[in-house]
């Protein structure tokens, strides 16, 4: 009973934001799920009504509401297009946390979010085990993408096309780095995010090379801790806060000017979701969160700012250009309004011929754990993206979020068309003097 009262009290706090929804339905026009299902409970307006009815006790089914709230990519397309400016994603994140607290976490999620993610060394051990075992059940799918698929009907993995886990994560390879500020007087903390740390190690190495080339001193802690969004979107505020606390400790004393990440989702989480959820924290913690959030920059935004000043971006290569297109990650384009920076980085590499795809800002359908929970729907949305990419005739698709890269690899590998998937920073990194020379020799 007391728990129910707490649920209702916390939901009531969302009341003012919920009241702003005039139920005009314009979110239907942009929601990637509604386009597939035409179901009101899959689109923002319907979900907001469910939260409203739960809060006003018209509907007494927290499980039912939770289940429907989880059927959402959290892409923010609705919030961006909302005529009334309803902060839809903020409401959904908070509602998931409030209902999650009331209902409690299922044991498997508790294990992952509270026992595994906050223990980086345990995660490293698991990764080594998994990496060693993955060859047994995988077979190669697409050599350009480096993707594999399961040899037999495997649970969870199903018929996905995926990239292998690295045996040693990026942070294991790098160790702790603590350089003094560079010639430009800046020192940047580098936060790769879990996917770069464990799967896209090349991207992490490229990012560090470019940052060093630009003359920034680099700080990398010896361990990788998750930014917390998987826990929070599963409604686990406690797990989320624990992870946030660990990252704050990692970077607190490093005296960095910026925190740079190559993951759009991590950037958006630290920049917008951390401060949003900080209101539940004690005053002192709130300030720590805000300080780090304000220092956080997406790597494409950070590098594009210095693009004009950067010395000697080599305009090498006179041969045939490679066609390239760009997919806007929702967390970059919709959450942080960054869309030109990655395109400018790609444009700085004259070996490529840029072609815009149709609807480059349409969600790829990944949505983090959404892909795990609703794979069929995720794939349906992703196939549209794959079609748009193929229609450009480009050989490479760049983006700026490793989560999108996982989805693009899966969806493109299925088409068998051998399209390369890269991060915009990797395209830009090819222009670094040492790389260009290597290529020419």
């Amino acid at each position: 009973m007391a728990e129910l009262q707490r649920l209702l009290t916390l939901l009531k706090e969302l009341d003012d934001q919920l009241a702003g929804c005039m139920k005009c339905g314009m979110c239907q026009a942009v929601c990637p799920l509604y386009a597939e299902t035409g179901r009101e409970m899959d689109v923002a307006r319907g979900k907001l009504v469910l939260v409203e009815h739960l809060s006003s006790q018209l509907l007494n089914d927290p499980q039912g509401v939770q289940k429907r709230l989880e059927r959402c990519l959290l892409c923010g397309s609705c919030a961006k297009a909302c005529p009334s400016g309803v902060p839809v994603v903020d409401i959904f994140i908070k509602a998931r946390a409030i209902i999650g607290e009331y209902l409690g976490l299922p044991p498997i999620k508790k294990l992952i979010f509270r026992s595994l993610l906050p223990r980086p060394r345990l995660m490293d051990g698991l990764q080594r085990l998994a990496a060693a075992g993955q060859g047994l059940f995988s077979k190669k799918a697409d050599p350009i993408l480096g993707s594999s698929c399961a040899r037999f009907n495997a649970p969870v993995i199903r018929d996905r096309h995926y990239l292998p886990l690295a045996t040693t994560p990026l942070h294991g390879e790098l160790g702790e780095i603590d350089e003094p500020a560079g010639p430009g007087g800046t020192k940047v903390g580098f936060y790769p995010g879990c996917l770069v740390d464990k799967i896209f190690l090349d991207l992490g190495r490229d990012a560090i090379d470019v940052l060093r080339h630009r003359g920034h001193g680099i700080f990398v802690p010896g361990e990788q801790v998750c930014c917390g969004i998987p826990a929070l979107s599963s409604g686990d505020r406690q797990g989320f806060e624990r992870l946030v606390g660990r990252i704050l400790n990692q970077f607190e004393d490093a005296d960095i000017d910026y925190l740079i990440t190559p993951c759009a989702t991590c950037t958006a989480t630290i920049r917008t979701i951390w401060p949003l959820m900080a209101e539940y924290l004690p005053q002192r913690e709130q300030q720590r969160v805000r300080r780090l959030a304000e220092k956080t920059r997406d790597i494409t935004e950070f590098l594009a700012e210095g693009l004009d000043k950067a010395s000697g971006e080599p305009q090498h290569g006179s041969g045939e250009k490679t066609g390239i297109t760009y997919h806007d990650p929702c967390h970059l384009q919709k959450t942080l309004s960054i869309s030109q920076a990655p395109r400018r980085l790609i444009g700085a590499n004259s070996n490529y011929d840029f072609r815009e795809m149709g609807a480059p800002d349409r969600c790829c359908g990944m949505g983090g754990s959404f892909n795990l929970l609703h794979y069929d729907l995720s794939r349906q949305v992703g196939q549209k993206k794959a079609e748009d990419i193929l229609a450009t005739g480009a050989d490479t698709v760049a983006t700026a979020c490793p989560a999108c890269m996982i989805q693009l690899v899966d969806q493109l590998s299925r088409t068998g068309k051998s399209i390369r998937v890269a991060h915009a920073v990797q395209i830009y990194a090819e222009t670094l003097p040492q790389r260009a020379q290597k290529e020419q020799s």
Partner: protein, 461 residues
């Protein structure tokens, strides 16, 4: 709750996944865009082909389950709210095929769930034009447009949805197919049931297929933004333009409150002191567009326009229209609840109507921004409020009633394009006669003896 057997019958007919019985699903269909209390249906059905649509209607009738057809659910008068007891919501948005776009005979055949803007785009790709453009066109369905006789910005020159319905196939309460109208412009065959169905708000039948008229697109357009120091001046300008035998394709109006809201929202440099803005667009053959635009400019000058911006490029045209597109979002952000009305008057009565709305706002101490389609007298007084404030909301309801009364005194009508639904059915008698309502009810009684087709809408219970 509908019995297990009935639910099983629906599941057998439509497939389990297209029958929603869980509370959390049903609550997602308890509302539309009208500011009304939610009504939770007992069942939600999403047929995926027209055959099972007919079967679903028949099953509802056999079991006396009142059904409300829903497309996108963007109705502004509560027309898509289900019945209070045993209500079934019947979704048509999975029936979304464009069956034919005929460029020789200038018509298209569509299923009811096709989205308006997507259809208009498909038609434009074939080099033709479907003019009706209701404000919700990016999500609204054509079936909903026909059932509500939806309007839009182009009403003055191009008319509204009813002017484009050539033919209609629909199901009666027994799921029997009724075919009416034709694929031809002319058709004098039988009762004009197609037009009876237009604007019937789902009370007389369930659409299966719609034949829509298409027209050749205009070759050229020119848009203008005219600033006036008073509503009267702007309104007299509207009358003068039409008296000069010019029919702009759009002639939109923003009042001072709306101008200020849009300016603080976008900051595009609109004159916040202006009494009213007119957005005027003429279209047609390039020579005629030039001639009409020149005349409109002269008329605006004669009427004392204080500022006139003529768009020279597509980009400038966009910026002219941005102000109009921003009107609703800018107003909606000011207060939690947005009540969008659509009382309509003959266009010569526009100044009187705008004055009356301002008086009503002052008298009830309410915030009302007014914008709308000046060319056809269809205004959108937009009341900004918070429905959680019950004292204020009572004043809102009184204000709405007074807006209706004023529109009728000025020889206007309760609704230009949003329909009557539940929100306005009690006011019907003010505009029509008692006999009109009884006649409508007898008609419905004969066609729908069990009263299962969207009961409570238009003609009351």
């Amino acid at each position: 709750m509908a019995s297990k057997n009935v639910i099983r019958a629906f599941q057998d007919l439509l497939g389990r996944e297209n029958v929603y019985t869980e509370a959390a699903d049903r609550h997602a269909y308890s509302f539309d865009s009208a500011v009304l209390d939610p009504v939770v249906p007992e069942l939600v059905l999403q047929p995926t082909d027209t055959e099972s649509l007919a079967g679903a209607v028949r099953l509802c009738n056999e079991n006396e389950l009142p059904l409300t057809v829903r497309g996108a659910g963007t109705n502004l008068s509560g027309g898509t709210l289900p019945a209070r007891e045993k209500g079934v919501v019947l979704l048509t948005n999975s029936l979304n095929r464009v069956l034919e776009i005929n460029t020789e005979d200038l018509y298209a055949r569509v299923e009811p769930g096709v989205i308006t803007a997507q259809f208009a785009r498909a038609v434009a790709e074939k080099g033709l034009f479907y003019p009706p453009d209701p404000g919700s066109q990016t999500v609204s369905t054509l079936g909903g447009n026909v059932a509500e006789n939806a309007g839009g910005l182009r009403g003055l020159k191009y008319g509204v949805t009813k002017d484009y319905v050539l033919g209609l196939d629909f199901f009666d309460v027994d799921g029997e197919l009724i075919k009416t109208g034709a694929r031809t412009v002319k058709c004098a065959t039988g009762l004009n049931l197609a037009q009876l169905m237009v604007g019937s708000e789902g009370t007389l039948g369930v659409f299966k297929e719609i034949v829509l008229k298409l027209v050749p697109p205009p070759a050229a357009q020119q848009a203008m933004l005219a600033v006036f120091d008073s509503v009267d001046r702007a309104s007299e300008t509207v009358s003068a333009i039409i008296a000069n035998k010019i029919l702009p394709c759009t002639l939109e109006f923003l009042d001072n409150f709306t101008i200020r809201a849009v300016e603080s929202f976008r900051g595009a440099g609109l004159p916040t002191e202006a009494g009213a803005l007119l957005l005027i667009e003429v279209d047609g053959h390039p020579a005629q567009v030039e001639e009409d635009a020149r005349k409109v400019r002269e008329i605006c000058q004669e009427m004392g326009v204080t500022e006139l911006k003529v768009s020279q490029s597509a980009q400038e045209k966009e910026s002219v229209w941005q102000a109009r597109r921003d009107a609703l979002p800018a107003l909606a952000r000011l207060k939690p609840t947005t009540v969008l009305e659509d009382a309509t008057v003959p266009r010569s009565k526009l100044p009187a109507m705008v004055r009356a709305i301002n008086d009503i706002a002052n008298r009830h101490n309410l915030t009302i921004g007014t914008f709308g389609h000046a060319g056809d007298g269809n205004l959108h007084p937009t009341i900004l409020t918070d429905k959680r404030d019950s004292e204020e909301f009572e004043r809102v309801e009184r204000a709405i009633e007074e807006i209706f009364d004023t529109a009728l005194e000025l020889d206007g009508t309760l609704s230009g394009e949003h329909g009557i639904g539940m929100a306005k059915s009690k006011f019907m008698e003010k505009e029509a006669t008692r006999g009109t309502i009884l006649y409508s009810r007898r008609l419905k009684q004969a066609l729908d003896p069990k009263g299962i087709l969207n009961p409570g809408k238009i003609m009351g219970a």
